[in-house]
């Protein structure tokens, strides 16, 4: 069972599947080994406009519903989760502007994406992970400018982005209410990228430090108002994390499909091993988990499209989908037996790719805090 999508999106899905099969799936095996960021694949994806699916229609986007876009993202994730993460991280990087930015900033950020650029969201710092309020990056107002200083880490698209949405303290005494959000374009003097992570999975995505040293930006690049940065960041993550659930679901779907295909062919004791009910039940459990995750993603996205609250649903979708992606990928390796542990076969990569989805954009422990708070309420 797939997402319930429009006829239009069905047609697009066919084209995206064709692209991913021919241009992404096999090619990414080598990039997974080398850790190189596959620019030529992204160039082709940009040419096909896969990079701008989340751009709102009024700023040059497609005008597809979020569930339609989810179906396309899942297809990309099935081919390679790092590829889908890179594309999705541009959406994450654009969200602060779309949530609270001026009309001028919205147009500028979206145009950069439409023209083939990438965006990045800079919240995490070496000392500020789950405790995002502990960030040390500062922004000081100086006439018509702000001057930023600090170091962000684990920034997806950090080394390839054309713009960054950055949280920085504008009032150290005010705690989270002293955090503001800024729009910084690549090439601004004082902005540089540092250490690039050599990651366990999603190796076709770029993750690195982003450093600000007396980085001067126009005061008009403040997103929303001073002191609103933390709130904008939380709203950004609330929206973005459903997309991580969507990609995680894609990883799980790929793992199940690979496991079914392999065990139909693998003969032991004179019959395909999938003839054994023990393995059939594993597939059933995979299907139950994947379908539940997918429909939770769809539910959260539908709520967003309808203008309803989605904080709890988004956290459930991300948390559940990433947890089951780990379980399904692990079971897929089990179904492959010894070959599943070999890098020659596709499933070990899926487990490595899946793990980060339990960690980034809010660890699954943080997701449980969000779900608990939204369920229990204040007492």
């Amino acid at each position: 069972m797939a997402y319930l999508i429009s006829e239009e999106a069905q047609e697009l899905l066919g084209a995206v599947k064709d692209f991913c099969e021919k241009e992404v799936k096999e090619q990414c095996k080598e990039y997974d080994r080398t850790g190189e960021w596959p620019k030529e694949i992204y160039d082709k994806a940009i040419e096909m406009q896969l990079h701008m699916l989340e751009v709102p229609e009024e700023y040059g986007g497609m005008g597809l519903s979020r569930v339609d876009v989810a179906a396309l993202f899942e297809e990309m994730a099935k081919a390679d989760a790092g590829f889908a993460t890179t594309i999705s991280a541009s959406g994450l990087g654009t969200k602060p502007v779309l949530i609270a930015g001026s009309e001028e900033l919205k147009k500028r950020a979206c145009q950069i994406i439409v023209d083939g650029g990438f965006g990045a969201f800079c919240l995490t710092e070496p000392g500020a992970g789950s405790d995002a309020s502990a960030g040390k990056t500062v922004a000081v107002k100086d006439g018509d400018s702000y001057v930023l200083n600090g170091r962000k880490c684990f920034i997806t698209n950090g080394g390839v982005a054309s713009f960054y949405c950055v949280t920085a303290m504008t009032d150290k005494s005010a705690g989270v209410k002293g955090i503001s959000m800024f729009f910084v374009e690549a090439g601004t003097p004082g902005l540089s990228t540092g250490h690039e992570e050599d990651k366990m999975g999603i190796r076709t995505s770029n993750t690195c430090d982003v450093v600000f040293e007396d980085c001067r930006i126009p005061a008009s690049n403040l997103i929303g108002a001073e002191g609103k940065g933390f709130s904008i960041a939380m709203k950004t993550l609330d929206q973005a994390r459903t997309w991580m659930g969507c990609i995680a679901t894609g990883i799980a779907q790929r793992a199940m499909e690979e496991a079914i295909a392999y065990t139909k062919e693998r003969v032991q004791f004179g019959k395909p091993v999938l003839k054994n009910q023990a393995l059939q039940f594993k597939v059933a459990d995979m299907a139950i988990k994947i379908e539940t995750a997918r429909q939770m993603v769809a539910h959260s996205l539908t709520r967003m499209d309808q203008g309803l609250t989605y904080s709890k649903e988004s956290a459930i979708a991300k948390c559940y989908a990433s947890d089951i992606a780990m379980e399904v990928a692990s079971e897929a390796i089990q179904m492959f037996g010894g070959y599943g542990y070999s890098r020659e076969y596709p499933v070990e990569k899926l487990l490595r790719d899946a793990k980060i989805f339990q960690i980034f954009e809010g660890t699954n422990e943080v997701q449980r805090i969000v779900v608990a708070n939204n369920t229990i309420g204040r007492f």
Partner: protein, 263 residues
């Protein structure tokens, strides 16, 4: 340059197609329809030529209502407009019949536009029946020249210069326009549709031309009669001869052929 691309909708050639057991009927259950691969090469070559020298590309197919999908696909990857030629009277037409139908449609579209097509592109063959006849037959019906098996094309002062693939290599062939060209696999791949073009193509009208609108076109009785439909025989496992030296292998091979009374 005004370009027409003839295309055909065929069963997906990336899946294995079998006969229904015990019959001569091809089992196409669950097999998707796609645009013939060689026609996609023709369209890409036509689109690139148009982009280089200006003009427009028209895509046209003969087929049932469902073949509109094939035209729609082409509208997302380089064709400016598309037409479906469809009529119950055209069912069962062979390649010669189809070339007559296409020729009539071409005349009709030329009259409507008030200008002739300079070039008519076809794939070298369709992946379903692989006769490779339509292009030359269409040229003959229209009374114009034809160059087959193109892998590249450019415009010249009075027409075109084509790179033709032959069994020995390549040949440069010049021709005056109008003419028909059939296209083999070029050095490049057909483009992917952009998401926006794909969405726009969905909304574009695809006019249907019926027999009445083409004037009195008679595809005629099929000149080809199918005698038998059967699957290719399964090849038996061969014998591998791998002696220590090539000479020993050759001697053994000749010996085996002699034993089988083949020599």
């Amino acid at each position: 340059m005004e370009i027409l691309v003839c295309l055909k909708q065929v069963p997906d050639d990336s899946v294995e197609i079998r006969l229904k057991p015990g019959t001569e009927e091809v089992n196409l259950d669950g097999v998707a329809n796609v645009v013939n691969a060689f026609d996609t090469y023709a369209l890409e070559m036509a689109a690139r030529l148009k982009e280089a020298v200006g003009g427009s590309v028209t895509a046209v197919t003969v087929g049932p209502e469902g073949a509109k999908d094939a035209v729609k696909t082409c509208l997302a990857v380089g064709a400016n407009q598309g037409y479906l030629i469809s009529d119950p009277a055209f069912e069962g037409a062979d390649t010669l019949g189809r070339s007559k139908i296409l020729a009539a449609a071409i005349k009709r579209l030329e009259t409507e536009a008030g200008k002739p097509f300079d070039l008519i592109f076809c794939g070298r063959e369709a992946t379903d029946r692989a006769t490779g006849q339509l292009g030359p037959q269409l040229a003959e019906t229209l009374g114009v020249g034809v160059i087959t098996d193109l892998v590249d094309i450019e415009q010249t002062a009075g027409g075109i210069c084509a790179k033709q693939e032959t069994e020995e290599g390549y040949r440069r062939v010049e021709a005056a326009t109008p003419c028909v060209v059939t296209v083999n696999k070029p050095a490049y791949d057909p483009r992917y549709p952009t998401i926006k073009n794909k969405m726009a193509a969905r909304k574009m009208p695809i006019p249907v031309l019926s027999a009445a609108e083409l004037g009195q076109v008679d595809p005629g009785q099929p000149g080809v009669h199918v005698v038998k439909v059967y699957e290719p025989a399964k090849r038996q496992a061969g014998v591998k001869i791998k002696e220590e030296t090539c000479a020993d292998s050759a001697i053994k091979a000749v010996g085996m052929m002699a034993e089988a009374k083949l020599l």
